[in-house]
Symmetry: C2
Subunit: 400 residues, 2 copies
């Protein structure tokens, strides 16, 4: 029996699935609910591990697809694993590469997380990802795995459940994920059913092939916007001996709450649940309320690199000319390194001039904002005031 991680539940939101807890991992504890910082290529973009730790981050997630291509899992393994390679002392995760091979193979669309069809040539949707939008039709799925082309050099590669786990075992993160098929929210139910069956078979194969006892394997619930499929998926995945669970795929914004609640009612209460790729403030509140323990998203750092700054009143663009001579802190009252030491005018200048320090300061601020949010959410649950905190926060917070 794998006892690599353990979730100790501390406090429940009365009348709901939400809770605080402490997730113990081989590299330290994570206070949950927590926001997982994305470090795609074994580096949180623009930041050092000390930056990441000092802003309150607890856990870093590397992307298996990217690390497999560059520098390769063997290099990371020889360095002693992901954390050792990048000099991050705390807990780590890797995803399975599933999301990336599909998003690279097919297409992205704004507001729709991912699009997958049986024939990639049908995918003609508009791209919104930085380096993904230029690619299409680079992946092909069959019952055994996915053949895809590298976005770096076009070379052909193949992931199967077995190879994804083998790579993740070499990368050596504390928590890893099963290889699943990420379907389009626009997919028809007939295809979704087929894909779900495949994802379930793959989940089992991932469990069968794993060898490391110091890594926790998370199963992933799929099923898109179809409640019966989500329920079926949750029941099946929950029946397998995973150490944790991911909720994957995409939702219509309206469906999300219902689907997450449905799924988390079925998943075992004593194990951690990770909502994959979700990081908008509203979604985090709704997810926490319905029992999600972990979130990850590139949004805070990606937007930071574009000069978008998170505040309690919503986001603003530091590059706008109105900030040129504002010598007050980036966000008034914020305790982060960037806000304590630099002005809006300076950050505006750095972004306008393309200075790397601008990316770093903005990333520090936005991640600190997320960590503070999670801390306040945890505190509010402990103090039985989560719903009040949520209401007050979201009343002020306006998304751009």
């Amino acid at each position: 029996m794998n006892e690599s991680i353990h979730l100790k539940i501390k406090k429940q939101i009365p009348g709901s699935l939400g809770r605080t807890g402490v997730l113990s991992t081989p590299h330290g504890e994570i206070k949950t609910p927590a926001f997982v910082t994305v470090g795609t290529l074994a580096a949180v973009k623009a930041l050092s591990p000390e930056d990441v730790a000092s802003l309150g981050a607890q856990v870093v997630l590397g992307n298996t697809y990217h690390l497999y291509l560059q520098p390769g899992e063997d290099v990371v393994a020889k360095a002693g694993g992901l954390g050792s390679f990048m000099n991050w002392q705390g807990p780590t995760m890797t995803d399975s590469g599933g999301f990336q091979v599909f998003s690279l193979g097919f297409a992205y669309k704004k507001g729709v997380s991912k699009i997958a069809k049986e024939s990639p040539t049908e995918a003609e949707l508009e791209g919104n990802s930085e380096h993904i939008s230029e690619h299409s039709a680079l992946a092909k799925i069959d019952d055994d795995g996915v053949t895809f082309k590298s976005h770096l050099d076009g070379t052909e590669h193949r992931f199967t459940p077995e190879s994804s786990i083998a790579i993740q075992e070499k990368l050596g993160a504390d928590m890893i994920f099963v290889f699943d098929e990420c379907t389009s929210p626009l997919a028809q139910k007939e295809y979704m059913r087929k894909a779900l069956n495949r994802t379930h078979r793959w989940a089992k194969r991932c469990l069968d092939t794993r060898t490391r006892e110091d890594q926790a394997l998370f199963g992933i619930v799929q099923g898109g916007r179809y409640k019966d499929l989500r329920e079926e998926s949750a029941r099946y995945i929950a029946s397998l001996p995973f150490e944790g669970f991911g909720i994957g795929g995409s939702f219509d914004k309206d469906d999300m709450k219902e689907v997450v609640e449905l799924v988390n009612k079925i998943l075992p209460q004593e194990k951690p649940r990770h909502m994959l790729g979700i990081g908008e403030v509203e979604d985090i509140f709704e997810g926490v309320q319905r029992g999600v323990d972990l979130f990850d998203c590139v949004l805070p750092t990606r937007l930071a690199r574009h000069g978008v700054i998170f505040t309690k009143n919503g986001k603003y663009d530091i590059k706008k000319i109105i900030n040129r001579e504002k010598f007050e802190p980036i966000v008034d009252g914020c305790g982060c390194y960037a806000c304590k030491n630099y002005s809006k005018a300076y950050l505006h200048h750095l972004h306008r001039a393309g200075e790397m320090l601008g990316h770093r300061l903005s990333s520090i601020h936005n991640l600190y904002f997320m960590m503070e949010l999670m801390k306040n959410i945890r505190d509010s649950i402990e103090q039985d005031s989560f719903l009040k905190y949520k209401k007050e926060f979201l009343e002020k917070y306006k998304n751009i």
Copy 2:
């Protein structure tokens, strides 16, 4: 009388012009000889001020040409000056913009610092600077000043000795430079003489127009490779009440030692001398031996961003595939943050993947290398072993 800075000479190299000292400025002391870190746009590229301070840097130089264009000297002035704007607590310098308007207006050539002719259209030399090589014929000189086009948007601007000083007074650095004409090392003597006379008239105009008593103004000696012109320039500039002196322009590598010695014999011993834009290890040793107190150069940080790492045995390229699985420190025995915490393999990966952290770690290392070199040079002078240290260092050090 301007007493903004003061050089206290501590120890002389026996039988030579070289010395150690302490240069007091309104923002702290600088142990000399010192390497000045370049922070072109009010940021040392890829680094925070804490990074810069922690690697041992004592003073930061901003470029007037760049800061005038972006964000503009008024913004910097309203922020409280260069140091305050960028949150650098220590001493600061600005150059006059002269070098940039000429290098942008004319052309660069490898091994030749700058080329200036009366008619920009004659300049057809190969460029070697990152963003300068694309431009040519953007500057036009007359006896009153220089009209040039912005490399950012092509808009026309004009610098005169008076405007350069006015801008530098707004930027507010502790040490500023006169506006001079930077001639080509290939220029004929007839033109050099004419340019030198103009530079001398401009030096006087800079002195006449200055108003701030908390800023030190450095005169600049020009004269290219012509010893008689250098001597004449040194005598004239030394006769004016500057607080410090720059040695500008370019030299043939062979001439440099002689010219610097000639000039520094004439310049007043009690005032600091800055060798402009010089930063190769050999040149620093030769300059120090001949009485230079300050050096600045973009080389350590620019090469760092291209993955070139400084070591006592010369430089190496971390991007080369041979480093892919080298898990030892970047430079064995180095005490910098990068070498203490990361492997060659990781830095190789970061550069290959284009991660900003790679630029930062390499910049930290290369600047630390320069700061350690200067510290060891100072120590060797104090211990009467400079020539021995120089010989031993240069025997091992091979430039790429």
